[in-house]
Symmetry: C2
Amino acid sequence: MTEPFSVQTQTYHPLADDAVGPYLAAIPPVAALLGNSPASWTVREVGDGNLNLVFIVEGPSGGVVLKQALPYMRLVGDSWPLPLERSYFESMALTEQARAAPGLVPQLLAVDRVGAAIVMEYLNPHIILRKALIRGRRLDFFADHMASFLALSLFKTSDLYLPSARKKALMREFCANVELCKITEDLVFTDPYRASPGNRWTSPQLDGAAAAIRADAPLKAEVQALKLKFLSSAEALIHGDLHTGSIMVTETDTRAIDPEFAFFGPMGFDVGALLANLLIATIAHPAHSEKPQPYQSWILDQAERVWDGFDRRFRALWDEAGAGDAFTAELFADAPGKASLRRAQDRRMAALFTDTLGFAGCKMIRRVLGLAHVEDLESIADPDVRAAAERKVLALARTLILRRYDMTSFADVRRAMAEVERHPA
Amino acid sequence: MTEPFSVQTQTYHPLADDAVGPYLAAIPPVAALLGNSPASWTVREVGDGNLNLVFIVEGPSGGVVLKQALPYMRLVGDSWPLPLERSYFESMALTEQARAAPGLVPQLLAVDRVGAAIVMEYLNPHIILRKALIRGRRLDFFADHMASFLALSLFKTSDLYLPSARKKALMREFCANVELCKITEDLVFTDPYRASPGNRWTSPQLDGAAAAIRADAPLKAEVQALKLKFLSSAEALIHGDLHTGSIMVTETDTRAIDPEFAFFGPMGFDVGALLANLLIATIAHPAHSEKPQPYQSWILDQAERVWDGFDRRFRALWDEAGAGDAFTAELFADAPGKASLRRAQDRRMAALFTDTLGFAGCKMIRRVLGLAHVEDLESIADPDVRAAAERKVLALARTLILRRYDMTSFADVRRAMAEVERHPA
């Protein structure tokens, strides 16, 4: 793994389009990758300007992406200050993820901590997984790739793999990523369950459903138990925002992007985020297609492949590379030890499945009732059709959260999905 | 709370006896507390010289303790390097514990980070709780005081009380306390379960028992699950070494001392450490007394009072001061909310009891088979009598670890204790 080039900007200022060429020209490995001189490079700003500046720069021999953090998020007409340091956390997360799961994140070429910018390889012809799913594209490999990404990135930053000193040193760095964690704490775990000015939903269709969730005391208690876990379980370096909009795909290549929410948290939050978004895509699909089958089943199959693949690979890593300070391998070397370790792994994976379903439910509810929605549902033009799908998402999410201790395999998720499709509540 | 005075030593060197007076004279609040001039002060070194220098300094108006870390631990004839920074972690932990649980830790008067020293109030006429228990002294208040210390220090450094930004900032500091955590990881969770040169036990009496534990695969798997929790559950700032030798008592006053192992870990580790040592004291007592009853029952009663008091106070704090980012109080304001919160608290306290028993079991086993033993057992001169008590400790510990998910109240611990007394395995 080559270390990314370190850019020594003196003071932060947002880059104008015409400053991008000279900026990149001063980074030798990037200039070499683009080829020839800056005059021959094309620069396109493709960020939505809400959160980050994102420039795609192409030269005669290659392309790069320059992503620079802006000090605020523009949203619902308002400005919300956001720390520039999130760019640095993204660079650290990309570095650790590349170490743990090579080839499954974009290559990091340069880091500019003061300038709050990173330069990465330009992923081309990749598209956002969410858009591919809305368009009904079959992608044979993304589920396996994401199962690998999850297993590798979570296992290899956990106490099952890292010596405790290394894990604590990494954790120390990411403990500073306070503000972005707080966004998740509020938007995922709290605001959808109370009257909050940022909340929105398909109204008036879901007014009753939103009120019912705000009044659902057993649900709120379970969501807060999951929030406590999010706040206090430092199991692994998690991506922290692993929805289908944070994954770029081709037919054969898959990359997890945008890990600025990364910190040491519960593994189930990442696995659950991806499952949540695949379950939303499954429920939303009939609104995007005249003939929803067999594609709708295909999406659900991918969710199962993600969990099963993750489960299998994680166990294999534990068996083959369990070098961390937890479950000291030496203690389980003989046959009875191996058998006991296997049972401990079964218990650990079962607990992780429970967490995964709980976090998935939280992520589904926030996409229907909270501040930030998803295109799978938002792009359904007819509000009655959209609300019908969203009601199913809420019902499934509620089941996942409240019944997660009784659900032991993906077959239980399928049953819950079938139930919701029959009786959307 | 007054901030401790900050001493600006330039380079570390261990303090000689005759350097102590001038050192303290340069700390105005300490000099004022001692009164008059250094010539009138008496200096006694009372540390065992293994780990720290500990000076008791008394002047005409008061006394202080000066504790300075040594860069090594002398043990079993060998020298084991230890970081001087542990003194700084102790000072930070004392500061946070004093904030959370005023009056239950020694007052910190001065901190010298480079000099690896702290100055504290001299606790007098306090004695070490372990010695009081060995001598059969009844202390009416320590159990309630320790229940309060545990509830306050754990609750008020958890996500139930602290805003997430404050908790993450604190956690960041304590993530650096790597070496001392590693000692616990090895000595408590690993070494007693493998052939390790530091291990020792009453031999030959316990040779078979030690071998049986090393071969006990189901037990090792559970201990490693607890170790994983120790490594990855950042629930609260825990003391990290809360045995009865870390508690100083009078009839009416109780203080937890020596928190140099402090870090953000699982709450059950502290509660379990104290219970473990009270259970050991209970089992050991008949060897120290011609008439073991009713004192032996009294010790066991104190263990129950610690748990019950902790449980009650922790819930009360949660109800009255639940201002943290977890379990956002606003969500549970109405009657159904309060009822659901109560059930969530029941589940949380039940899980905490389970953890407590598991960690207690680990702490008991290490005191019989590991490197560091306890005076309650070590001072039993007859090796057969000692081994008989130690066998009971091992049997009870094994039950606590393996049956902890089925044990729901202290009555179950009493039953396990009675079973061990009847059939010591």
